[in-house]
């Protein structure tokens, strides 16, 4: 390996400037990204702990571990924490912040102060949301359906406030990225050479800016109604509960693409880098990203096939869901094409990619299955849907998040983790996952509704399998936390570009200095220039 290893004494963003204050008041996108990373990871741990309690309760058809209303609060907070506090911000705000400026040749984002503000707004929102637990929590499900949500006696208003605040932070982040990508690209990084991860963040940001306000509004309305009993969704006053569902899903369907687009972006970077091969269809992936971001707004009604929606709308939203699904397929085909014929580095990131593709394709196809109107009549609000979205969000996005951690760990810390432990954790996570959620598809087929604290005894065997799987999955995750922390403190130096990637972000030292580059940069080869790469040499820090 000929990569130049930065001198251990060189200044990195970690140590320069020093001091707690310099971190808390930093404008450096890398530090903000790191702070986001730790905060969202903490949320993953809390949400995961809730999940494990859920699974423990579900071992028996009538558990005595907790009572029904506690159980209802547990899955509500599990869903809220995982979606709003972990997954929506995790990849865009943590990895997006760290990588986007590096990938477009900028020194920082367009509005660094806004960036820091968005982090603190996020923290406030997260604290409010979590503190609501001290006031009894909420038991509405993460979907807040009226009129239950406006009449239950739990802390709806407080949680609605918390999520509203987190939403503001999400809008700030999205706005910042859009402006950054539009105005701060290095001159030679044209739209056609923009790394695919940046495209993914771009698409995500569009959704964040345009859909989040509608979520904010619907939660605000429920929060207000809960306090003052305005009857906005109360049939007694002429209100219509189905309208709340329209409002909620107008955000929350696009939101699922907020949760998956950045994950797809990470995969689109890791695959070419690990396979040392040019993407088989850069344009295809870009078009598919835009397609998902825009057409994704047209399908919200597929959550309401049995909600009392008109048959016409059901057909329309069903058809549009089929249409948007094709864009995801285009990406999968592009990744598969890229894997063929390269020179693949077999290591933790690509193993996660392997799991990701399998789980995402099946999870996505189960989405197509529930989008098939007549089938959804049977599956709606059963464990089949639970399995569908965990396949995509855990099997897809969380797996991609882990792939991203393992791929960019050396970039961020300058160190390398133990490959052997990483493979063990990968096996536990993937195996545990499959054992957890495959039985849930069958439970759904058999007719087990979701959000059930107690259930008919015939479902027990599958539930037990699922619980065993969840604990294996949890153990795998803890293991990953363990060796990553060790590697961060005492891992071997990784060099500037251990994967010999041609990606733009690898062309500055790892970890990067506070201003991202040590010398002026030229970007004369693109981010996927592997064509002539049969004896790869590092391309680090091409000084002009």
């Amino acid at each position: 390996m000929t990569a130049r290893t930065s001198e251990p004494t060189a200044e990195t963003f970690w140590t320069s400037p020093r001091g707690v204050r310099s971190w808390l008041l930093t404008h450096d996108h890398k530090r903000i990204g790191v702070m986001y990373f730790f905060s969202t990871a903490l949320m993953l741990a809390i949400g995961g702990a809730f999940a494990l309690v859920l699974r423990a309760v579900l071992v028996s058809p009538d558990s005595s571990l907790v009572d029904a209303s506690t159980y209802n609060k547990l899955f509500t907070h599990h869903g809220i924490i995982m979606v709003f506090l972990f997954m929506v911000p995790a990849i865009p705000s943590a990895f997006g912040n760290f990588l986007v400026p590096l990938m477009i040749g900028a020194r920082d984002v367009a509005f660094p102060r806004l960036n820091l503000a968005s982090y603190y707004v996020y923290c406030v929102g997260a604290i409010v949301t979590i503190c609501a637990l001290l006031f009894g929590g909420v038991d509405t499900g993460w979907t807040f359906y009226a009129p239950y949500s406006t009449t239950t006696s739990t802390a709806v208003t407080m949680v609605a406030c918390g999520i509203f605040i987190v939403g503001v932070s999400s809008i700030m982040t999205g706005l910042n990225f859009l402006v950054t990508i539009h105005t701060l690209r290095a001159e030679s990084i044209t739209w056609r050479r923009l790394p695919l991860f940046v495209w993914a963040i771009y698409g995500t940001a569009i959704i964040q800016v345009l859909a989040t306000p509608v979520l904010g509004l619907s939660l605000a309305v429920v929060g207000i109604d809960h306090v003052w009993h305005l009857g906005l969704f109360d049939p007694q006053a002429g209100g219509d509960p189905v309208l709340f569902q329209h409002l909620f899903w107008f955000y929350s369907h696009p939101a699922v693409y907020i949760m998956v687009l950045p994950a797809m972006g990470a995969i689109s970077e890791i695959v070419p880098a690990a396979a040392h091969n040019r993407p088989s269809s850069y344009t295809g992936i870009v078009i598919a990203t835009a397609g998902i971001a825009l057409v994704g707004f047209l399908t919200w009604g597929h959550h309401m096939f049995v909600a009392g929606m008109s048959t016409f709308d059901a057909g329309l939203f069903g058809a549009l869901s089929m249409f948007v699904a094709v864009f995801s397929a285009i990406k999968v085909f592009a990744w598969l094409g890229t894997m063929w014929g390269g020179r693949i580095t077999i290591a933790a990131p690509i193993l996660y990619v392997l799991s990701f593709v399998f789980l995402f394709v099946f999870g996505g196809m189960s989405g197509v299955a529930v989008a098939t109107t007549s089938l959804d009549v049977h599956w709606h609000d059963t464990y089949f849907v639970v399995a569908h979205f965990h396949f995509i969000m855990v099997g897809g996005t969380l797996t991609a998040f882990l792939a991203a951690i393992h791929f960019w760990f050396p970039k961020i810390t300058g160190r390398m983790y133990s490959e052997a432990w990483a493979r063990l954790a990968w096996a536990a996570v993937t195996g545990g996952f499959i054992l957890t959620f495959t039985p849930q598809f069958l439970l759904g087929n058999a007719g087990m509704p979701r959000r059930y604290f107690s259930y008919p005894a015939r479902f027990q065997a599958l539930h037990v399998m699922s619980t065993v799987g969840a604990f294996i999955l949890g153990a795998g995750m803890m293991l990953a936390v363990g060796y990553l922390v060790v590697a961060w403190i005492a891992g071997r130096r990784a060099g500037d570009n251990p994967w010999q990637s041609r990606g733009f972000e690898w062309r500055s030292p790892s970890p990067p200095p506070p201003d991202n580059y040590v010398a002026p940069m030229r970007w004369d080869t693109d981010a996927y220039a592997y064509d002539d790469d049969d004896a790869p040499t590092a391309t680090t820090g091409t000084a002009a």
């Binding site: 367009a110 509005f111 809008i171 706005l175 859009l178 402006v179 539009h182 105005t183 701060l184 800016v209 345009l210 859909a211 989040t212 306000p213 509608v214 904010g216 509004l217 619907s218 309305v221 207000i224 003052w228 009993h229 305005l230 009857g231 906005l232 006053a237 002429g238 209100g239 219509d240 309208l243 329209h246 409002l247 107008f250």
Partner: protein
């Protein structure tokens, strides 16, 4: 400031406005749906709103938008004193708008028309929805008027030491947006009797 940086600010403000517009759109959606479900009630209820106040407020906001545009015009010509004068006009008109709005709310409250309550129309199904939406939408709009006035005041203050018209221009775009929202609220709440 580089042209690129100016462009960045303009894009940011437009994105913020798009986001705000979608915030309002949720309420517009509820209005449209409930109006189609309770068209008679909405007709009757709209007659309760004080039409001269609605009309006056429309004229006030249209005028304030004009004043804003003129202020920007002079700021660009470098005549900062004149610009500050027109910007002050914007703020005064904003206050007048809020005063009328507050007066109308107080009239309503006196008549027992409150969020979730329909006064004389209590028996008419759907009327209370109209008034709930009336308060939510005009209330949210009033918050935006207040925010807009603060922005204008800030930009006006800036022109004292800074001859760059960018701040006042951006604030102006926001102010016009607030006006546009009212342009739609007016027919929906006052004219569809």
């Amino acid at each position: 400031m580089t042209p690129q940086r100016r462009h960045a600010f303009r894009v940011a403000v437009w994105l913020a406005i798009a986001s705000e517009a979608l915030l309002f759109s949720g309420l517009f959606m509820l209005y449209a749906s409930y109006r189609s479900e309770h068209s008679t009630a909405f007709h009757l209820a709209a007659a309760e709103d004080v039409s001269w106040i609605g009309g006056t407020n429309t004229m006030i906001l249209l005028t304030s938008s004009f004043a804003m545009a003129v202020a920007i015009h002079f700021a660009r010509l470098g005549r900062r004193g004149v610009a500050r004068g027109w910007a002050a006009g914007v703020i005064v008109l904003g206050c007048a708008f809020l005063a009328f709005k507050g007066y109308e709310w107080s009239l309503h409250l006196r008549d027992g028309i409150a969020p979730g309550a329909a006064g004389d129309l209590e028996g008419v199904r759907g009327a209370s929805l109209f008034f709930t939406l009336y308060y939510l939408m005009t209330g949210l709009h009033a918050l935006h008027v207040i925010a807009g006035m603060l922005f204008v005041a800030w930009a006006r203050h800036r022109t004292r030491r800074d001859d760059d018209p960018l701040a006042i221009e951006l604030v102006g775009v926001y102010w016009h947006f607030v006006d546009v929202v009212w342009v739609f609220l007016w027919p929906l709440f006052y004219l569809v009797t």
